[in-house]
Every structure is written in C-alpha cells, then in structure tokens.
C-alpha cells in the first residue's frame, strides 16, 4: 500500500506529483496524524489512565465533569496550560527551555513512518525500523538535558537513571527487533506488516494469524519488557521515581513545560505500543475490510497502554542496580540468543 501523500496525489490525478504538491500533501497528512495521535494519547490518555488505574485500585475516579468525567479532558487541559511556569534560579536557561520539546518531538517523528492502516502513513522509507529507534531514542537527550539544566540534585539523579536505563534497554530492544527483521526480510515497516498477513495455523474455526507475536512469543515478551523500560513505567519507573526522587528529571518543571514532558511520556507509550503492534501484532491487520485498519491499530496501541497501566498499578519498582543487572545480564543475553536462534531457523528453512 502506498503512503498517504502518494495515494492522495494519485487520487488528484498526478502520476508523479510535483515537489510543491508532495510537500503540501506531506504537511496535510502530518497534520492529520499529529492531530489523531495527540487527541488519542495526550488528551484521552490521562483520562483513560485515571479511569483504568481506578479500576485496578478499586476506586471510581473522575465522574463529575460530563458523562464518565469526559469533560475532565477539557478542564484538565485548561488547568495544565494555565498553571504558572516557575523557572528555578539555578536553571541553565536555553537548555532548560529546549528539553521539554524534545520528548514529544521525538515521539511524533517516530509516528511518521508507522503504518497505521487505512492508508494513514506519512512516509515509508526502506530503513523505517532503524529510523523509528533512532528518533525515539532522542527522548533520552531531552531527559538528560532537562535533568541537568534544572540545577536540582533530584533532577540530576533522575536524568542519570533515565540515561542508564535507556542505554541498558535500547540494545535488547533493537536486537529483538532485529530478529523480526530477519523473519520479514526488510526494515521497511509496511513490508513487516505485509509479511504478517495470512494464517499461522488453523485450529478448527479459529485461525491464528501469522503475526510475529504468535510465531515468536518469546521475542514479543522480551520486546515488551524492554519497551516498558524505554517508556519508564513500573517496574522500570526509576527515572521519575515519585517516592524517591520526587519527580526525577521533571521535578523542577511546571506549567507548559511540565505539560510538554507529560505529553511526551504519553506519546512515547503510544509510540512503543505502535512499534509493538507493528512488529508483533500485525499492525493494522485484523478481520473485516482494510479501511478498518486504523481501528485495529488503535485497539492494539491501547492494549499496550493498558498493559503499562496494569504494571504501574501492580508491580513494584526495582532498584537501579537491579535494573542494570536485569538489562545487561538478563535481557541482553536473552535477546542475542533469540536473534541467533531466529537467524539459524530462518537460515535453515529459507
């Protein structure tokens, strides 16, 4: 399937669109994608988070503003944006101001190449997967700059932890993704999705799709754990560590800057969900007509979101040394084992 700008250009009657049109269409599609992702993740995300957490913890949560407390989304946006922006005396100014933008930016850039189904994809480069990991790991730059520039020891400790975590878990993440690349034979995300079409096995009336999550559940488990660490959710909640470091790298941020960090974190959870869905859950694939793709894709992202919230509610946070141990001595070894095994199996069969 062609990317959305190309498809649009064809629909307008251009076989090969001129550059100006291509750029214009890119901007339009990017606008749509950003709006959709922002709406779902940043606006509905906090609402859903509160509702979901409340269910896990036996509470009712917000129910006063509008039906099911949905009006809270508006009320809370106004509240967050109208809060005073307090900048600490010891802050390192340009860096302190730039850092909050890096986090959401890197996540939004990542969405550019993700095939969301129903033709919603901005670009489809050959190195799609590598690109996603490259831009999403920019987030740790934002964290370290923000933490360092805040001029607070809590922020510093939090950002150091975040960086240690990113380094330790980025490698297993990429290595595990590489095993999927071996199976699909391509780094292009649309190819990876296409490779998951079809049925793995049919158990009577139930047809199990050929998603890599079913083909190699071990890799998916590894990837999900590493992704949890990447987005900094329990049990890898060390960077923020509310009860230890107050808020980690966001301790000294308030007002709009805090909103940007907050937004960035939610976007990163959704981006991780999108990568998990693309690599292991067949992306937008699902029963029904192809235009339903974006719905299936959304459902898979939200399933990952639910998973992160579940972990947040039920799993303790581990210590920094334990986190590094699990990352370097556990996940890294397992992910390489997975890669080599996959390579051997793919080599023997193919």
């Amino acid at each position: 399937m062609a990317t959305a700008p190309v498809a649009l250009a064809e629909w307008l009657g251009y076989a090969a669109a001129p550059l100006w049109l291509e750029l214009l269409l890119d901007v339009v599609v990017a606008g749509i994608i950003v709006t959709v992702m922002l709406l779902t993740s940043a606006l509905a995300g906090p609402w859903a988070k509160r509702k979901i957490t409340a269910m896990f913890t036996d509470r009712i949560a917000i129910n006063r503003v509008g039906p099911f407390g949905l009006g809270y989304i508006v009320a809370d946006s106004v509240r967050l944006l109208s809060k005073e922006l307090i900048i600490p005396d010891g802050a390192d100014r340009p860096a302190y101001d730039v850092a909050p933008a890096v986090l959401p930016l890197s996540a939004l850039l990542g969405f550019a190449v993700v095939p969301m189904g129903s033709g919603l994809q901005l670009a489809d480069p050959e190195i799609g997967l590598a690109y996603v990991f490259a831009v999403s790991s920019m987030a740790s730059v934002g964290m370290v700059v923000g933490g360092y520039a805040s001029g607070s020891k809590y922020s510093l400790l939090g950002s150091m932890r975040s960086v240690a975590e990113s380094i330790a878990y980025e490698i297993p993440l990429v290595v595990t993704a590489a095993s999927v690349v071996l199976l699909a034979g391509s780094l292009r995300l649309s190819d990876i999705v296409a490779a998951q079409q079809g049925t793995l096995v049919s158990l009577g009336p139930i047809a199990i799709p050929a998603w890599y999550g079913f083909l190699n559940p071990f890799a998916m488990a590894l990837f999900a754990v590493a992704a949890l660490a990447e987005v900094g959710r329990n049990p890898f909640d060390l960077g923020e560590a509310g009860t230890e470091l107050v808020g980690g790298y966001i301790t000294e941020y308030s007002g709009v800057y805090f909103v940007l960090f907050f937004l960035g974190e939610f976007l990163h959870i959704f981006l991780s969900g999108a990568i998990v869905a693309t690599l292991f859950l067949g992306g937008p694939l699902g029963p029904g007509p192809a235009w339903l793709g974006v719905v299936w894709f959304g459902a898979k992202i939200w399933a990952f979101f639910l998973f992160t919230q579940w972990c947040r509610s039920a799993v303790p946070r581990i210590r920094i040394d334990q986190m590094l141990q699990i990352g370097w001595k556990g996940l890294l070894v397992l992910s390489f084992a997975n890669l080599i095994l996959t390579a051997i199996i793919v080599g023997v069969i193919a």
């Binding site: 913890t57 036996d58 509310g242 009860t243 230890e244 107050v246 947040r312 039920a314 303790p316 946070r317």
Partner: protein
C-alpha cells in the same frame, strides 16, 4: 479492674512503698556502691539517685551485670533547686523488671555525664532534655537542639523560660542546609524532605550520597513539634489530657495512645478499671492497631511501588471498614477520645447485635483480604528482591537504640508489652506475639501483617465476651472523683504497646490537679534514631524503603 482477673496488676503497683517486682533493689544498691547517693521510690520502680559524674559507671553496671539492657526513656525536669534526669531502665527479657537512675544536677551548673556511650539511644533523648529543659551532658557526642531550631532562645520547659518573649531570628542566622555543598568531594549532599513524598510527614533527612549509595544519613526532626508535653502539663488529669494522645500517633492509633495515658494516670491515682471496660478497651485498641498496621502496609508499599497503586488503595479500603467500626463505637474517625480514667466513655452502640455483626463481618472478611495481600505483595518476586536483605537491623543494635514494636520483633526481639507487662484484658485472651528473624524490611512488613491477624483473634474473643456479658454487670467506668490530686512528688513511668512500639508516659505530680512533668516516650522517636544504622551503605531506594518499614508517624516523633 477486678482483682481476680488481673493478677499481675497488684504485684506491680501496690500502694505501699517498695514496688514488689522481681528486682532485688538492695543487691543493686550494693552493686552500684558509692555511685548512689540515696534511694527514691517511684510508683513503677525504685530509683537510685546517682552522682552526676558517675552516670556511665552506674548505667554500665546495671546493663552489663544485671541485664537492664533497655533504656526506655530519659525524662528531664527542673525543680526549684536542681535539674534532674531520670533514666528509665528495663529488661528486654522482662519489662516488669524496672529501675530508674535519677541524676540530679545543681541549677547553676546543670552538667551531668552523658549516657550515650552506654546506650546509643540516650543520644537523642539527652538532646531533647537539653533542648526543652536545659540539662547539659558532658561527653555527649553532639549536644545540639533536636526539636526546636538551633536559633531558639531559652529552654521552654525550664522554670525561668519566658513564654511571652518573641523569638526574633534574622534569616541569616538560620542554618543553611546547603551550606556545605560537597563540591570538592566525590559525594553529594541531598536534603530529603521536609517536603518529600517518602517522608510520611515533615521529616528532613540530610543524606550524603556517593552516586546512588547512601554514605551518611541524619534525620532532622522537630518540624511537627506541637508542645504536646507542655499542653498535657497545663491540663487536668481527669478530663483535659485525654484528647491529646489521639494527636500523637494520628495514623488511626488513637485509642492505643489514650491507653498509655490512662494507664499511667490510673496507676498514679490508684484507679481500678472495671473488667467490662477492660474488654472494651482491649477490643477498641486492637481495632486501632489493625487500622494503623493497614496504613503502615499501604504506605510502605507506596514507597516500594511508587504510585498510588493497588496495594495502597486496597489497604485504605480495608482500613476504612475498621474506621467505620471505630466511628460507630466512639463517634469519631480519628481523634477518638474514647477512653476515660477508670474506663471508657460509652458502651457498645445500640443495637448491640448490629455492631457485633459488623465487627464479625469484618473479621470474617479479613483472612481473604490478608491472603490477597500476600498474593500481591509478599509473594511477588520483584517485591522480594526489593525488600529481602535490605535495611537490616541486628538485634543487638536494635537494643542499643531502644527499638521496640514491630520493628524490634522483626529483628527477632521477643518483646511485646501486652504480654510481658500485662495490662487490660490481654492475659486472659489467647493470642501470640509475632516475631521474625529476617531483620530486614520484608520481615517488618510480614510481622505487621501477622499482627493484624493476631489482633483479629483478640477482637473476636472480646466480641464473644461482650456479647455474653451479664446485662447488669456492664460497668463502663469506675467511680472516679471529679478532681484528681495525686500525692505530691509521686512519680510514675508506665508504658503500653502502641501501634509502633513501647509508648510510655512519665508523670510527676506536685499535689495539684495537673501534672508537674509529663514526658512522652514515643516509640517512633527511638525507632527513627536507628535509621542511619539500617540505611547507610545502601541505595537511596532502600533508604526510602527502610524509612517506610519503620512506620514512623511524625506527630509522635516530634510530639
């Protein structure tokens, strides 16, 4: 209390002079030799008046030779002609064996030898005595103010203190917590608190970190000092003091605190508590213990898990049931004010069956709840790697610091005043003291969880008793005079097993209807003092977890 049901009480507190415990005071006097100037008799134990320069030798002799290994409390006070420090010693093996070491010092030169080299716990106790009363201790490693700011003028519990004089302090005179920034060293000073999510109140920990490792930590307390002792000293015994204890350990442990005051005041005034009231007290106090332990469980898990997670809310939900029961019983949710000298204020609310039914429902539900907690917490591998083997407190160290309560029992110290120094109705009931040999954060949680089960056992037996109690014999209060004037210079130190440990009160009477000195021995105060021993050399998250497992309530630490 009836004589038949309370066999231990008459042994402990005969109205006559010598307290007839198992201690051979004459032998002790011989042992101490010329350290002793004279002997005094306090309601709870004999007191030896010791020379101010011989405190260490006297205390060492009592500790090493006679086994008085628990410095429960240090009470200091100022008389017209002298200062006096009283060291209340007990045995961890048998807290009914008590002895007091009284150290008088002249008013113009109030210096006595510090007990710190003998008992580590004396460090903070003597600092408090210096801070509030003005006694000075020679040889003390760090004689600074502890509850009040360094800049405070005068000693508020001293006789010459002028309360009307304003404390004007310029900003520059205050201590700058960042003065030493450790910039040229490999370490980093970090101020955890006084406003920090993990300090459970207003506690300030000055921590020196080497990377993530805690090199040194020093608790700085006093942010919640509300002059509780002085307030109690200006209230009358009969009614005006009882509301205050609710505000010490406000983590739902109100009735346990009230009992501490009730016990000492009843001893001082020779008040007998009717048996029915003792059962009521026992039941309500154990309900409080469950509520307090559930709060401790919830907040400890909050520290480990990070967010307002399932465990915290589950603990709150179950605590809410207890709170509702207590509200039915006392009319209040936290500041119960339920006990009275000589009994309790109200009987079980009518209809009685309904109340008992509610309690029974809660007790029936509890085992499945505890099962759920064990599933979620103690059997969770991640939780275990976080808590097992961290915050280790060796029993010897614990005794040095006067640690009591679930913290001591989790270090394997079999010490529970409900059994060892019986009061109330505990001796007649069937329950166990829980101990664990793990000595770590995990054990402390486990001990609290098991104590909840034991408390439930106690409550169940109390409900059985109360239900079948003869209707004509339900005396909830003894006849206590409207005004209580204990004899002049009568002194008593009495403790009960609060939610956090040994909650003791020392009272000296001056013949009026108000106490001349009212000193609170807070278990949290002593337990918190042991924090550096447990947390130094470990990681920051372990420091936070250890603090959570100590289960301190700052209202009780600072009073």
């Amino acid at each position: 209390m009836s004589q038949t049901e309370e066999p231990a009480e008459p042994d402990e507190e005969p109205p006559a002079e010598a307290p007839a415990t198992g201690v051979d005071y004459d032998a002790l006097e011989d042992l101490l030799g010329d350290d002793v100037v004279r002997r005094e008799t306090h309601t709870n134990a004999e007191g030896f008046v010791v020379r101010a320069d011989r405190v260490q030798s006297a205390l060492s002799a009592l500790k090493d030779t006679c086994g008085f290994d628990h410095l429960s409390n240090v009470s200091a006070q100022e008389y017209a002609d002298r200062f006096e420090s009283i060291y209340h010693l007990k045995k961890y093996d048998d807290p009914t064996e008590e002895v007091s070491v009284v150290v008088p010092t002249p008013r113009d030169d109030p210096v006595s030898q510090s007990a710190e080299p003998v008992f580590r716990t004396a460090d903070w106790h003597e600092r408090e005595a210096y801070d509030l009363v003005g006694v000075q201790y020679d040889d003390h490693p760090d004689l600074r103010r502890i509850l009040l700011p360094e800049t405070w003028q005068g000693h508020p519990l001293g006789r010459d203190y002028n309360q009307d004089k304003p404390q004007i302090v310029e900003f520059e005179e205050n201590v700058n917590p960042l003065a030493s920034d450790h910039r040229d060293e490999d370490t980093m000073l970090i101020n955890i608190g006084p406003h920090h999510p993990a300090t459970h109140g207003v506690l300030h920990l000055e921590a020196v970190l080497d990377g993530e490792t805690v090199e040194h930590v020093e608790p700085d307390i006093g942010y919640l000092h509300r002059c509780e002792e002085q307030m109690a000293q200006s209230g009358t015994y009969r009614h005006q003091i009882m509301p205050y204890p609710d505000r010490w350990d406000y983590g739902s442990a109100g009735i346990l605190n009230e009992w501490a005051y009730a016990r000492v005041a009843e001893d001082l005034n020779d008040i007998e508590v009717p048996e029915y009231a003792q059962v009521m007290r026992t039941m309500s106090a154990e309900l409080c213990r469950i509520a307090a332990h559930l709060l401790a469980l919830g907040t400890f898990c909050l520290d480990i898990y990070g967010d307002f997670t399932a465990i915290f809310m589950y603990a709150m939900r179950d605590r809410e049931v207890v709170q509702n029961i207590l509200e039915d019983l006392t009319g209040q949710r936290m500041m119960f004010n339920y006990l009275r000298l000589g009994g309790v204020v109200w009987d079980v609310p009518e209809p009685r069956e309904e109340f008992f039914e509610t309690v029974r429902e809660f007790l029936a539900e509890l085992p499945s709840r505890m099962e759920e907690y064990h599933d979620l917490i103690t059997e969770n591998e991640l939780f275990q790697i976080r808590t097992v083997g961290t915050g280790v407190l060796e029993p010897e160290t614990a005794k040095q610091y006067g640690v009591t309560g679930p913290v001591a029992r989790a270090s394997g110290i079999d010490y529970d005043l409900r059994r060892d120094d019986p009061y109330g109705y505990y001796e007649n009931l069937d329950w166990d003291v829980i101990t664990d040999d793990g000595k770590d954060n995990y054990s402390r949680l486990l001990v609290r969880m098991r104590e909840v089960e034991q408390s439930a056992r106690i409550i169940e037996q109390c409900v059985d008793l109360l239900e079948d109690w003869d209707e004509d014999d339900r005396t909830i209060q003894a006849n206590v005079p409207r005004t209580l004037n204990p004899e002049r210079d009568k002194e008593a130190y009495r403790a009960v097993e609060g939610a956090k440990g040994e909650l003791g009160i020392y009272v000296r009477s001056d013949g009026t209807d108000k106490p001349a000195r009212f000193k609170i021995r807070s278990p949290c105060f002593s337990n918190l003092q042991a924090l550096p021993e447990m947390a130094e050399g470990e990681y920051v998250p372990d420091l936070v977890a250890t603090l959570g497992s100590l289960d301190i309530i700052l209202g009780e630490v600072d009073r």
